[in-house]
Subunit: 318 residues, 2 copies
C-alpha cells in the first residue's frame, strides 16, 4: 500500500492514493467502526464493484445514482434527501461519495445542504475526478439549461482513491482525465518537463507513472485552490483552455468529453497566446508537441470557428 | 445616526444599527453605486415601506416573498433562482435580503447556492431577526414536514438595520424578539443585571434602551457563533429553552410565535435545572422574576405535560 497525503492550509484535508481497491475498502472500514456511513455510488461503479464492496453496502446505506448529466439535478438531490431521512442520517453521519464527477458534484451538494451539512468523503473512481473534481470543494447540479449553476463550496474531509479503478475505465474517459493532467503540466513548469520527457500519448501507463501523475496533479490543484477557496482570482488558472474547451463540448452537443474538449481548447488557447504575442514560438512548439501526442476526436477539427466563437460568448459554466 | 459595528474573527462582518430608516437606505445606496444589487423583500415590509425605498426598487431588481412558513420552501428558492437568472445576476452581484427570519433564511439559502454563492447583505426588520437569525450564517428552508432541514452556513458580509423598523411591528412579534433578548440575558451575567434592573415587561421601550438591547444581544450572539461556526458545541448555549420552546410551538400548531415559546421554554428549563439540583433556589427566583415580567399567551399553561414531552422527543429542528 502506498499513501500520498496532501496537507492543506487548514490541516484537515487528506488525499490518500492507495495502490489497491482493498486498501480503499480498509480505510473506509476504519471510519465505519465509529460512525454511521451512507454511500452515494455511481451506477457504473456499483455494477462493476458491488461484489468487492458487498460487506459495506446494504439497502439502507447505499444510494445508487445514474451518473448522467440528466441526473445531475434537483430531482436526484430530493431522492438523496429522502434516502437520508428514511435511514435516519444526521449531521454527524459520513456521506461517502463513490464515483466520477457527476456523482461527486451531486452527492456533495446533497451532503452540504442536508441539515446544513454532514461529514463528507470522496472516493473518486475516474481520472478526471481523481485529479480535478474531488479537490477544491466545488459541488453542484444543473438547473434548467445551465450546467453546474446551483451548488456550494464544501470540502470533503478526505479523498480516498486507488489508481486501480482506472483499469475498468473506458479509454475515452482516461483520455479525458489526461486533459486535466496536461493542464497542470502547463501550470507547473517542473511537471511540464516531467510530462514532456516521459509521456508518449499512451493511455496504458505503468502503475508507478500513474501514481506519480495522479498524486502530482492533485497536489498542484490543491495548492491553487488553497490559495483561492472561493474561485475569485488565482483559481482562474485552472480554467486554462476551458473557454475554448466548453465551447467545443457545447458545439458537439456534449458528445465530446470534458477533458478531451480541454485538450483541444488548450491547443486553441496556445495558438491564440502566440498570435497575441504573449507566448514565444519555441514555447508554443513544445506545448503543441506535448498536447499533440494525445489524439482527440477527429471531428473536432470540422467545427467552424464561427460556431465555436458563438458558443464561447454564451459560456456561463463554472 | 448611531452605528454599532461588531468586529468578527475574520474581520469581515459588520453589524450597523442605525437610528433612522433613511440611514439604512443611505448605506445601501453607497453599495449600489459600484455593484449590481438584487433585493429579496418580505411582503409585509414591502407593503409598508415600498414608498420609502421606491428609488431603490424596480421590477427587475426586487423580488417580493410571502413571509409565511409555507413559502419557506424549494418552490420559493426556484422562483428566486429564476428571478436572478432573468435579470442577469451573477456571483459578483449583491443580494440584499430585507425582512424577518423567514425572508432571511430563504433568501440567504438562495444566495448561498446560486452560482455557488453571491455576495450577501441582511437588512433584518423584526426584533427576532435583528438579534438572532441575521447573525451566524444559518440559512435554510423547510423540507416536507421538517423545519429548516435543508440549508447552509453562509455569512452575510454586512447586517444593516434600524430600530425604527420595530415601530410597525405587531406587539406579539416584538414580544417574540424579546424572548431571544432574554435568552442572551441568561447567557451573559452582566447583561442579565442590566435587564433585571431596567426591563419592566413593557414592549414600548425608549429609543436608547432599544438600541442598547439590540446591539448587546447581537454582540453576544456574534461572540458565541464566532467561537463555533458549525454549531458543534459552544453554540448549543443558544438553544437555551429551545427544546421546551419548540415543543410548545409544535403543540400549539405553531400559533405560538417562536420567541414566545422560548420564554415559556426558559421557564420550564429553569424549573427543571432547579429540580435537578444544578440551579440554586435564589438564582431560579431571579430568573423567573425577569421572565415573568413578560406575559406569554395564557393558553400555553393549558397544554398537558404529556403532549409537550411527546413533542420534545420528536424535536428535529435546527
Amino acid at each position: 500500500m502506498r499513501n500520498i497525503t496532501i496537507e492543506s492550509n487548514n490541516g484537515s484535508f487528506n488525499y490518500s492514493l492507495i495502490s489497491s481497491i482493498e486498501g480503499v475498502i480498509g480505510k473506509i472500514e476504519g471510519i465505519l467502526n465509529s460512525h454511521s456511513c451512507f454511500y452515494i455510488v455511481d451506477s457504473n461503479v456499483h455494477k462493476i464493484y458491488h461484489n468487492q464492496f458487498k460487506h459495506l453496502f446494504n439497502q439502507k446505506n447505499c444510494f445508487v445514482l445514474n451518473a448522467t448529466e440528466e441526473y445531475k439535478s434537483f430531482d436526484s438531490i430530493y431522492r438523496i434527501y429522502d434516502f437520508l431521512l428514511e435511514n435516519n442520517a444526521d449531521r454527524s453521519s459520513y456521506i461517502i461519495v463513490i464515483g466520477g464527477g457527476i456523482t461527486g458534484d451531486t452527492g456533495s451538494f446533497a451532503a452540504s445542504s442536508f441539515m446544513r451539512g454532514t461529514r463528507l468523503i470522496h472516493v473518486p473512481t475516474t481520472l478526471l475526478a481523481m485529479v480535478d473534481s474531488s479537490i477544491g470543494g466545488k459541488t453542484g447540479v444543473n438547473y434548467k439549461k445551465y450546467k453546474n449553476f446551483i451548488g456550494s463550496f464544501y470540502e470533503p474531509e478526505q479523498v480516498i482513491t486507488s489508481s486501480k479503478f482506472l483499469s475498468t475505465l473506458k479509454q475515452e474517459d482516461v483520455l479525458s482525465g489526461m486533459g486535466e493532467v496536461l493542464k497542470y503540466a502547463l501550470i507547473d513548469s517542473n511537471f511540464f518537463d516531467y510530462c514532456f520527457s516521459w509521456l508518449d500519448g499512451s493511455l496504458d501507463l505503468p502503475e508507478d507513472d500513474l501514481l506519480y501523475l495522479i498524486g502530482k496533479s492533485a497536489q498542484i490543484k490543491n495548492d491553487v485552490v488553497t490559495q483561492d477557496k472561493k474561485d475569485l482570482k488565482m483559481r482562474h488558472s485552472l480554467n486554462l483552455g476551458h473557454t475554448f474547451g466548453h465551447a467545443i463540448e457545447s458545439v458537439s452537443g456534449f458528445s465530446v468529453k470534458h477533458g478531451i474538449g480541454v485538450i483541444a481548447g488548450m491547443r486553441g488557447a496556445t495558438y491564440l497566446a502566440n498570435k497575441m504575442g504573449i507566448m514565444e514560438d519555441k514555447v508554443m512548439e513544445k506545448v503543441l508537441d506535448l498536447l499533440g501526442r494525445y489524439k482527440v476526436d477527429e471531428k473536432i477539427n470540422t467545427y467552424s470557428t464561427d460556431s465555436i466563437y458563438l458558443a464561447m460568448q454564451g459560456d456561463k459554466r463554472e
